[in-house]
Subunit: 203 residues, 2 copies
């Protein structure tokens, strides 16, 4: 059962989600959210120290299920490592290039200079994802499925390779279309081929 | 000798550079630039169809010498391919993570949603760079120094690997420090190791 304090916190997140969706991040003020929730501004700040933290919470909650699904498939893998990485790669790209995540990531990047939003999204989304991947790669190295290497570096190589064919079109808004399944499958296959050439155990 | 029209064009670029530096991209209007240059607004639009095009020209001119230096080292390489790629990689990262280029890239990315600046910078900077790299990789494949593969894909793998350890801190403004020489050398060595494992000719 949820406590009253948890209920209040969730009510704030729900109202904030609606406000951000209706007006965008910049034009939504904490006062606006406060008037939707009812109660004092101090109460909201009690739960969320800044608008950035609150926005990050909204994004992270709304994408939690998908985020978990992306990372679940790498946790329990026991079979062929290249297969596992391809499955993970495809799920990751479908997730990152969904309209919702593209928009949130763009906002975090665009706001990063002016606010803490970039850092919050990085720490609670990107970094958390990379830690899960690094953990999986480390276990795979220990099991002899990959050669020994710093898992954090291997993770960055892996993710960058997976995104390599799409990162420019995303960053520079050349297209905000979601990727097709064929595009994802082909790019993932090529990326994992490169990754495995470098990280497969030496024969 | 420059023609009068070239002189006029360059005068516009010079005045615009000063205005952008003083006031930033968003707060600088074409009217402001016009009043600095003298003459009619129609004249400026005759040379540059939009403020984005003019801004891109300012950035590209101010970084032309460095851009050329980065790409010159890959053109005339005749020796060991991994060495050439490491030399190129280090120059590319020094260039991309200089304060000036970080700032311009951030602006292009942040503005991309609202204006054509993202596309212009992409086409005249990023894409031009990738074409030069792809040309070099294609020649190296033809010379048997790399295995046969689509050069455009190999280029994206190469550049993404080179940036993999720094892209997040850049995008999310975790640090805007320039990279140290040691950071660049180590990351480049690791990236080229992965690239060569995948793209070296099959023995």
């Amino acid at each position: 059962m949820k406590t009253k304090s948890e209920e209040k916190r969730q009510a704030i997140v729900n109202e904030a989600a609606q406000a951000f969706r209706a007006m965008g991040f910049e034009r939504t003020s904490m006062s606006e959210i406060c008037s939707r929730v009812g109660g004092s501004k101090a109460t909201i700040y009690n739960y969320f120290p800044s608008k950035e933290e609150l926005f990050a919470e909204v994004i992270l909650q709304s994408t939690q299920a998908e985020f978990d699904a992306v990372h679940a498939c790498i946790d329990k893998s026991t079979g062929d490592i290249a297969d596992s990485l391809r499955t993970f790669g495809k799920k990751l790209l479908s997730f990152l290039y969904s309209h919702e995540i593209q928009a949130s990531r763009h906002m975090a990047i665009a706001q990063a200079k002016h606010s803490e939003l970039g850092r919050v999204i990085y720490e609670r989304g990107v970094m958390r994802s990379q830690k899960l991947v690094a953990e999986f790669l480390k276990e795979s190295m220990a099991a002899g499925k990959l050669r020994q290497a710093p898992p954090e570096i291997a993770t960055r190589h892996l993710i960058s390779l997976l995104e390599s064919e799409f990162i420019d079109r995303f960053l520079f808004h050349l297209s905000t279309e979601e990727l097709t399944e064929a595009e994802i499958t082909e790019a993932t296959t090529r990326a994992i081929e490169v990754f495995m050439a470098a990280y497969a155990p030496k024969p």
